[in-house]
Every structure is written in C-alpha cells, then in structure tokens.
C-alpha cells in the first residue's frame, strides 16, 4: 500500500507492539500528568521522577492510543530518560519543530520559524529513532497523535518546576 510505509515505519510498529517504559510510577514521589486528544479520545499518562539535580531519573507512560501516539510516547520516554529537564525541553522543541513543518507550509503567514533558542543543547540531543516519525507530517490529522505525549511531558515538567519554585 503506497504511502502507508511512509507513515508506519517498521521502528514505529516495533515501539507500538513493544512499548518502552510502559507502566506507572508511584506518585508522589513521582509526578503524574494526563494528556487528552479531544478529537479522537486518546489518553496518555506521563509519570516523571525528577531527581535533585533536575534530571529525569525515571519515566513511565500509560494510556491508550493509536500506533503513532503510542510509538511517539515510547520513543520519547527512551530519549529523555536520564537526561536533564533542559535537555528534554530542547528535544521537545526539536521534535515539535519537525512535526510542524507541514503546518508552516500551509499556514500561509509567510513567517519563518523562529530560531530554536536551545540550538546549543539540541546538538547533544539528537532525534535518533524519532526521525522515523517525520513521515507523519504528510498526514496532517495525525500530527496531534504524534505530539500528544510531548505536550503532556511539557506540562508535567512545568508542573514539577512550579512545585519546586
């Protein structure tokens, strides 16, 4: 089936069938945040355990969703685990920038995307497997599936930061 292979790369299906960091963490001490995609009903629950040095010591993902949302969450958890909050935010920015390529194309406002403020950090945070999700931008209605867990992680990290300030 032409086109489908662009979307459903083998590594995506692998993460969908065998999700990494699937489960729950006791909260507290971990932080628990729920994310919803109101269009399709997908739900993701992100548990993060941030240590005293601002490092994501552990992360677990729960919830239900399609192959794109579930594999994106799985890859995200593997990519940010053990990294600092700043690095996770930088990776999130990079990933969302990749996902919004299409939105900019059809946005028609003529503005260039702003330079990534965290360029120096992204150099150390490569997308790696997450590059496999690049094909999603050809299927605009699925972009929200791919970004659901990232938005939920951002919210979780914001909440952790607020709780500590």
């Amino acid at each position: 089936m032409s086109g489908l292979e662009d979307l459903y790369r083998e590594i995506i299906l692998d993460h969908y069938r065998s999700p990494r960091n699937r489960g729950e963490l006791e909260a507290p001490p971990a932080h628990r945040t729920e994310g919803f995609n109101p269009l399709c009903g997908d739900e993701v629950v992100v548990y993060v355990m941030v240590d005293g040095e601002g490092r994501i010591a552990d992360i677990k993902i729960n919830g239900q969703g399609c192959s794109i949302s579930q594999s994106s969450a799985s890859m995200m958890s593997a990519a940010v685990k053990g990294h600092t909050i700043d690095e996770a935010r930088a990776l999130t920015a990079t990933f969302k920038s990749m996902m919004s390529i299409h939105e900019q194309d059809i946005g028609g406002d003529g503005t260039e995307a702003e330079a990534d403020p965290a360029d120096d950090v992204t150099a150390e945070m490569k997308l790696g497997d997450l590059e496999a999700l690049r094909g999603v931008v050809k299927f605009p209605v699925r972009i929200k599936c791919a970004t659901l867990s990232w938005n939920t992680l951002t919210q979780a990290l914001d909440e952790v930061a607020t709780a500590r300030s």
Binding site: M1, L4, L7, C40, D42, G65, S67, I68
Partner: protein, 420 residues
C-alpha cells in the same frame, strides 16, 4: 407455457439510480471508487438538493419576514414552505411546532436554555442514558452546574440495549427524560414510545434526540409520544447549518426566548421587549434560509424514496455487513451493539484486535473507504464499552453491497498490514 411471476417484493431502493444523483460519489480516489461510509457523521447531497439551493440563490434569495418586494415574498414563502414540509415529514400536528435552529445541538441547547432554565432547580432531576451523544449530555451538565439539579443515567445491557430494569426508580421525581432514539455508536434502536410513556407516567417530559432516526426511519412525533424532538438536516441529505426542534405547541407557547435579537419580538422599547409567538420567538436573527430550502428538497427526495423502503434497505445492508465482515475479517473483529439487524440502524462500530481505530481508518483511506475513527462524541458510552475509540462505518441510501465488500477487503488489508 406461461410462468406465473412471483409476487412483487416490497418496494426497496434502486441504489444504482440513487448513486447517480450524488455527484460526490462519482469521483475516484487513487483509482478506487469512493466508498462513503460516514453518513452518521454527515451525509452527502443529491443533485436535487444542490440544485434547489442554487436555484433559490439565483432567483429568489432575500431576507425573510421583512421586505415587501416580490423577491422577499418568494424567499419567505420558500422558508415557511420548508417548515411545512418538515412538519408533514415528521407527523407534526402544526408547522408552528417546527423551530429551525443551527443544528440538533442547538435545538437541545434551546430546550435546556429556555424550558430547562425556567423549570429546573435544586431537588429536580434530569434522566439521561449512557448511550447519549455529547450534544444531549453537556447542555444538561452546563445547566446543572448553574441550577443545581441532579443528572441520573440509565445504564446499558451487555448487548448494547438500554437496561430498563430500574427505569421507574430513575424517573421518580424527574422532570425530564432526554434520550437518543438510536445510538450513533451502537446503532441500537430504542423503544421510543415505551420510554416516553414511562417518563409521562412519572410526570416527566420526554426529549428525543432523533438525529440518527429521522434520516433513516419513518417518523411520527405524535406516535413517539415525545414532547421535544431534535434532529439535523445534514444527516438526512440536507445542508449543514440548519437543524430542527419540534416541540408540542403548548410547551413552546410557555417557553421564554432562548436567543434575543431581531425576528423574535413583537415590540421593543427602551424599557423592554415583547417576545413573538412560536416558532419565530426561537429564531432570533437571520435564519438559515437557503439551508431551509435545501432541507425541504432533501425531505422531498427521501419522501420520494419512501422512508419504509429506506429503512428496509438499511436493515438488509446492515445484515449483509454483519455477515460479510464476520466471515471475511474473522476473529480479530469485534462489532459492538445488537447482533440482530432488525434491532439496529445502519451503524457499525468496529474494533480490530491490536489495531487502533485511527490506524484502521488510515489504511482504509488508502482504499478510498471513508469511515470515522474515535469516540463519536459519546465518551461516557466508550467508557462502558471499555474502548477509547472505535472505527465506525455507517450506511445510507446510496450504499450497496459493493461498499460493504470494499470495507471488508480494506479491513483485511489493515489486519494484515499490522501483521496480526
């Protein structure tokens, strides 16, 4: 030798001829025939509806109930003629009982915001069911948060019917029972007359969400025993942007206005206003005029087909779909809702083991099969089903066995693509 012809079968639909009336269905997508199986969300339009609206815009458009010139008179006649046609189509005793709204959602909000606000308060109860669309849940929740009444829920049986065991107890002290005539997820056809009678026995009024009923079955609001009936034109071959609230005349007479503005008043002074009589009282502002003309053409089209024949066609095709999908797709397939075709409308909510509804829909789109993934605006029901999302195929007058065969083949392709 002569042969005795068999007795003529009951009139059914000439689907091939019907399909020729729908321009959208003649297109091809990636070389495939377009298989449109999402009519429960919104249906397609026959040329007769499109032509009626175009002709109205080209020859007779003006605002209604205002001008004295001939164009305005023709527009008003067309708009009010549509009201009469809708009234006859649903068995309404009077066209003054037909209120045009934006859609069924607005019709239910109208009942909540007008009748509900005037009649509900602390200690009262509104009874809903667990198979309601959000359109018949959220307006009541919004109002309950303001007025402090209770919302009670009729549960479901395992096979997707309403569980009426405790209905009388649930209706005790209730002022309104608001329920769907047919589930937009399960396809379940509810015993409308029995439910309205149960409500009336307890002194409650009955609101019927008939969005999935009016397009598919003969409708008689009096036989239904309903007090309020809501439905949308865009699910019955008509345009988006217009819906209908039918209510018994004496209820409408007693109800305060919902939206305020032009068209709904008898007089306005600096001190206040005097509201017009129904249905104008509930149609503030310029209404969907050409949309009413389109709705009237859709009513004519469906009347021409015969609603009995429409229903018979859908029962037959639903039965064919249930048999075909089970045989072709196999054990990985779950079809929610009643298994007996006569107990359901043409809505098939499907789950494929291990494949999310979004992914099913994506694969089906490559074969030009249009279905709907998601929660279908019925999240409380999805929670009961234990499914965050289903893939929903829904049929209408222009669907045939070829469409079902294409759906089955595409589901097999989805199953195989994800290597189950």
């Amino acid at each position: 030798m002569t042969t005795t012809p068999p007795s003529p079968p009951l009139a059914t639909l000439d689907v091939a001829a019907i399909r020729r009336d729908f321009p959208v269905l003649s297109q091809r997508q990636d070389g495939h025939r377009l298989v449109f199986l999402d009519s429960a969300a919104s249906s397609q339009h026959p040329r007769q509806v499109l032509d009626a609206m175009t002709s109205f815009y080209e020859t007779s458009y003006a605002n209604v109930h205002r001008g004295v010139y001939q164009l305005a008179e023709r527009a008003t006649a067309a708009y009010e003629g549509a009201r009469g046609k809708v009234a006859r189509f649903i068995g309404a005793p009077s066209s003054n009982e037909v209120v045009f709204t934006k859609n069924a959602t607005e019709a239910i909000n109208l009942v909540a915001g007008s009748w509900g606000r005037a009649n509900l308060g602390p200690g009262d109860a509104v009874v809903l069911t667990l198979m309601e669309h959000h359109a018949n849940i959220v307006p009541w929740q919004m109002l309950a948060a303001q007025l402090g009444f209770e919302i009670r829920w009729v549960p479901l049986t395992d096979d997707g019917h309403l569980d009426l065991t405790d209905l009388d107890r649930l209706l005790d002290g209730a002022k309104l029972f608001a329920f769907t005539a047919m589930s937009n997820v399960l396809g379940t056809l509810n015993p409308v007359a029995r439910l309205t009678a149960a409500a009336h026995e307890k002194g409650a009024l009955a609101l019927v969400d008939a969005c999935q009923w009016v397009p598919h079955l003969p409708t008689d609001v009096v036989a239904m025993g309903a007090d309020f009936v809501a439905f949308s034109a865009h699910k019955m071959l008509g345009p988006s942007g217009i819906g209908v609230l039918w209510a018994r005349a004496e209820l409408l007479e007693a109800m305060p206005p919902f939206l305020g503005g032009g068209g709904m008043i008898l007089n306005v002074t600096t001190e206040g206003f005097v509201a017009d009589a129904p249905p104008g009282r509930f149609e503030a502002g310029t209404p969907p005029i050409a949309e009413a003309v389109g709705l009237a053409a859709a009513v004519d089209y469906l009347t021409g087909l015969g609603m009995d024949a429409v229903h018979r066609h859908e029962v037959e095709l639903t039965g064919y779909a249930l048999r075909t999908l089970r045989a072709e797709v196999g054990d990985a397939l779950t079809i929610y809702g009643p298994s007996e075709p006569s107990e359901r409308g043409g809505v098939l909510s499907i789950a494929l083991e291990g494949v999310h509804a979004h992914d099913i829909s994506q694969v089906l789109d490559t074969q030009a099969v249009c279905i709907r993934p998601g929660h279908h605006c019925a999240k409380p029901l999805m929670r009961v089903l234990g499914a965050p999302a289903t893939a929903r195929a829904s049929i209408y007058v222009y669907n045939d066995t070829d469409d079902i065969d294409a759906l089955a083949a595409a589901l097999v392709a989805a199953r195989d693509f994800f290597k189950l």
